[in-house]
Symmetry: C2
Subunit: 351 residues, 2 copies
């Protein structure tokens, strides 16, 4: 079956059979096998997945590897711009990219709550297929568990990815140097605010959509043309402020941001004002922070801007030695304020 | 700090600070970092984990890889013979072994329920450290999410593992041949019945303990000395009967078991009678089914029996061509019965 032929089909397990997930779908018996054979294999199948071992056998990867894991517990599971399925693929793809790796293989583990609608599972599986195809990663092995009603929340997904580190890349906090620039590929806060406004039942005009997207195509283009990158981070949970604070802590360097260079959409800004959030601390799911020597910045910006996911790329700050490992920001009115790491929970279950 | 020096210490996050897990421990901010720096790194730390990237960079693995994933949702989380922590390590280690691989690297992702006692998390982290050390696998990357009270159940753990396939091993259902023998390394049903009796508050004499154990040391010894193994499976969820049924389905061969050769402890047999279970369908967490040519069976049995995890190894059946892909058993009284795949959920949340 062609990839596009797989999509938008009726759920392969009809309502007459099983309208909702039962505990037995996670029991390892007939219903687990039905779910695998009738839904997962037809949608996600490939030669490696269909080996149907207790795991997957994968051809040798000639080079250093990267490995990353994330569990996705986002609430709601469907939101403007995406769902828990593409979030799970894109999140793991982008973490591998931040390690300087080309994402290759992904494992997929579901924890389903008893009673979860089979149709919703099918929508999510289709979304996983679509985003894996877009990011050119192969789902090679999986697992399905079911917990009783009230012991989960619809669906949790773990994706773990492995990739091949691009030769010549040396990515590490200690590589950050005074004068390095900090690039981000667009506006901040869209994902977190899309989730929060959906949860609160609020709408904003123009509508706020999650920025969830795979960034590997854009960044592999950068790596191939300019491997002299010092560090990357995707500013997800905790947002831009937490990611840059982590970098300051690990590198011992300070980072100075320019408020007037940080793009926040009008809707996100408005929503943040109403809900009392700071967009710097809001999760993004299609953004990457790239720290590199200033002399390569124009070249890298050109490459990033040539990709759909990088049209809004710009320099938002630079690395300094002063202040001893502190993130600070020159505000629009010209003052400087310290941007601390978030201490409490601002937005639970955002990814 | 030496490995043994890490164990049985006081929880590194004292009650005065945080007695229980808060939502903020999964928020990606200060409390998440405290958990990582004060508990996870000191207990589980190694050079790869402490890179503290968005993922781990791992040296090249020269050869074919294996990858496997499992989420553990066992209830209760502490049980006779083990806990959810060692189960999560051993389960993933054993799945890699069944792919014919030497387990190397493991990722570790927690989904914690708000209010989960910090002391219990510490016990589980110590148990993970101990079992990873025993199985000689390295925990290279991790993730922590927290969900609201009533949206989880104490703790769920995903472990994903990668290993190196042992050169020369050709493991696949289609390799099974008429006359091949089926070996198991001991008694069946111990894990599932340990969980069920704990859940039901029943005790049996002698006590029933989970058989959770890593099988890589024993099986690597087999692989090195006799690589002509046709197939392996660890009979976890769904037990011996489900694993062997899967093999019959994938290979198109039948398997004949001999009831009088299948070891079931007196306590497990008694518990099964009282609770109405069939030990053939009960999960094991330290057992492996090995299918191989008859002529190697004595050699392989000798090797397996020389390991603690294989003292009870014996031949319990063989592969036949008759009956067209059916699992059947010659009973103690001499009749033959078909052992079908389990259809409903016999034992939910057993692993």
């Amino acid at each position: 079956m062609t990839a596009s032929g797989r999509m938008n089909q009726q759920c392969p397990i009809p309502k007459e059979d099983y309208e909702n997930i039962l505990l037995a779908h996670g029991g390892g018996g007939k219903l687990t096998h039905q779910l695998i054979r009738r839904m997962f294999f037809p949608a996600l199948g490939n030669k490696i997945l269909e080996q149907a071992h207790d795991g997957a056998r994968i051809p040798m990867i000639a080079g250093e590897l990267a490995m990353t894991t994330d569990s996705f517990v986002v609430d709601p599971i469907f939101f403007p711009g995406g769902d828990i399925g593409d979030l799970a693929i894109n999140g793991t793809v982008n973490d591998l990219v931040c390690c300087g790796a080309e994402p290759l293989y992904i494992s997929l583990a579901f924890i389903l709550e008893e009673g979860f609608p089979m149709d919703d599972l099918w929508k999510i599986v289709q979304s996983i297929e679509k985003s894996a195809r877009k990011a050119k990663v192969t789902i090679v092995t999986g697992d399905t568990k079911v917990v009783e009603r009230g012991k989960g929340d619809k669906i949790y997904i773990n994706t773990t990815g492995i990739g091949q580190v691009v030769p010549g890349l040396e990515i590490a906090p200690e590589n950050c140097r005074e004068g390095d620039v900090v690039i981000i590929n667009g506006s901040v806060g869209d994902h977190g605010i899309a989730i929060m406004s959906e949860r609160a039942g609020m709408t904003f005009e123009p509508g706020i959509r999650s920025d969830t997207a795979p960034l590997n195509r854009m960044m592999l283009d950068v790596f191939r043309n300019q491997p002299d990158i010092h560090l990357m981070r995707d500013p997800t949970r905790g947002g831009l402020a937490s990611s840059l604070n982590e970098i300051c802590q690990s590198s011992g360097m300070s980072i100075k941001l320019f408020e007037d260079q940080i793009e926040v959409s009008e809707s996100v800004r408005g929503a943040c004002e109403i809900m009392g959030f700071d967009p710097l601390y809001i999760a993004n799911e299609g953004k990457i922070l790239v720290i590199l020597p200033c002399e390569h910045s124009e070249q890298v910006l050109d490459i990033m801007r040539s990709h759909d996911t990088g049209r809004g790329s710009r320099i938002i700050g630079h690395v300094t030695k002063n202040h001893g490992g502190v993130l600070h920001m020159e505000t629009i009115i010209g003052s400087t304020r310290i941007i601390d790491m978030i201490s409490g929970e601002q937005l639970p279950r955002i990814c």
